[in-house]
């Protein structure tokens, strides 16, 4: 047993310390006389009793306080439709496309063929017959005739 002091009358210092300890255990606020050795021992007893468990209610209250104290990223403000990026980009895109088309039409060389001789009905029939497995003699004859007509047309167009 190590409690030899049990029957001794308290000293003045002890009385002050005992009062400060009692107040600290109740209110968690200390006076200058607080005997931290005894207060720490009280902490160990309580810690051994509950393992320092953080109560669920206290944990959630702390989390709420933390989230309230630190503002989150501001949500993006809703813009009117006429200020949205795609609205601003649309006229620009249309303008670029129109300018491109105009340049192409201006710089594109004339393409012959708009008024080339059209293939005859006989040529189309001969192509259909050859494609379905029939004789290609008629097709050869019609193609020879069409080439002659085509060459004559081209010769007429590009004659200096």
């Amino acid at each position: 047993m190590s409690d030899d002091d049990e029957s001794l009358p308290p000293t003045a210092d002890e009385l002050r310390e005992a009062a400060a300890l009692a107040a600290a255990l109740d209110r968690s606020h200390g006076a200058p006389e607080l005997p931290v050795d005894a207060f720490a021992a009280a902490g160990v007893v309580r810690y051994a009793r509950d393992g320092g468990a953080l109560e669920d209610a206290a944990a959630e209250r702390i989390l709420d306080d933390v989230l309230a104290a630190v503002p989150g990223p501001a949500p993006a403000a809703e813009r009117p439709w006429w200020k949205r990026p795609w609205v601003l980009l649309l006229p620009t895109g249309v303008g670029i496309a129109a300018a491109g088309a105009a340049i192409l039409l201006t710089l594109r060389p004339g393409v012959p063929g708009g008024d080339l001789p059209r293939p005859s009905v006989a040529l189309l029939r001969a192509q259909a017959e050859a494609a379905s497995g029939g004789s290609s003699d008629a097709l050869d004859a019609e193609l020879t005739r069409y080439r002659a007509t085509l060459h004559a047309s081209l010769e007429e167009r590009y004659r200096p």
Partner: protein, 219 residues
């Protein structure tokens, strides 16, 4: 570390990394999940032993996570996850709280040194004792120390700190005046501390003298 424990740790770190990535993008639910993952350990193993007061430890926990929330977008992934980083913030917060305790009038007394080998560093995930096992060891030590005190001292501690009765009820149970009970409890706690240090291999606090304030108790 046993293979199962290693697998569990890796899985936990993977989940944590996913939560961190979401929280860094502003997802507050993910931050809440990280808080619930780490707050109990930080409270029980870092803050409460260093501050000795539940209310102070709760305030320090709030400040720890407030700073974590602010700094998380700049946090770089670490092999051991968030825990070492959070433990450092919490330990600094406890130190700051001791620094200002004289001005705030708050009663703080670290008992970290009294835990000795029962204390573990919260930033060593591999060495972490299961919380229940840790508490069982503490409880066993408490149960071993209390019978070594005089019946009156033991009863004073049990009434006030185990059963959490108020002072008046304790004085009445011991059939003494209120002021006398306060002195009995003071002496009982000093006797408890001596036996706690004598029984176990706890590291005595430097000096350990009665009246030694804050400088010795401050982590």
């Amino acid at each position: 570390m046993p293979p199962e424990a290693d697998d569990n740790r890796r899985a936990r770190l993977r989940r944590e990394r996913a939560l961190v990535a979401r929280a860094q993008g502003g997802d507050r639910d993910a931050f809440g999940a990280l808080y619930r993952l780490h707050a109990p350990e930080l409270f029980a193993r870092v803050l409460l032993p260093r501050l000795g007061s539940r209310s102070a430890a709760e305030d320090a926990l709030a400040e720890t996570f407030r700073k974590a929330l602010e700094q998380l977008p700049r946090w770089k992934p670490h092999a051991d996850g968030l825990r070492p980083w959070l433990s450092r913030i919490a330990a600094n917060e406890a130190t700051n709280m001791h620094r200002v305790s004289a001005r705030s009038g708050r009663a703080l007394a670290s008992f970290e040194g009294l835990l000795g080998p029962l204390r573990e560093s919260a930033d060593l995930p591999g060495a972490a004792l299961d919380a229940r096992e840790r508490q069982a060891r503490l409880r066993a030590r408490l149960d071993a120390v209390l019978p070594r005190l005089s019946p009156r001292y033991r009863r004073a501690i049990e009434l006030r700190l185990v059963e959490e009765r108020n002072r008046e009820a304790c004085a009445e149970a011991l059939d003494v005046k209120l002021g006398t009970f306060d002195v009995v409890l003071l002496r009982a706690l000093r006797a408890f501390r001596r036996e706690w240090e004598r029984l176990g291999d706890a590291t005595p606090l430097p000096g350990g003298a009665p009246r030694a304030r804050s400088q010795e108790e401050t982590p």
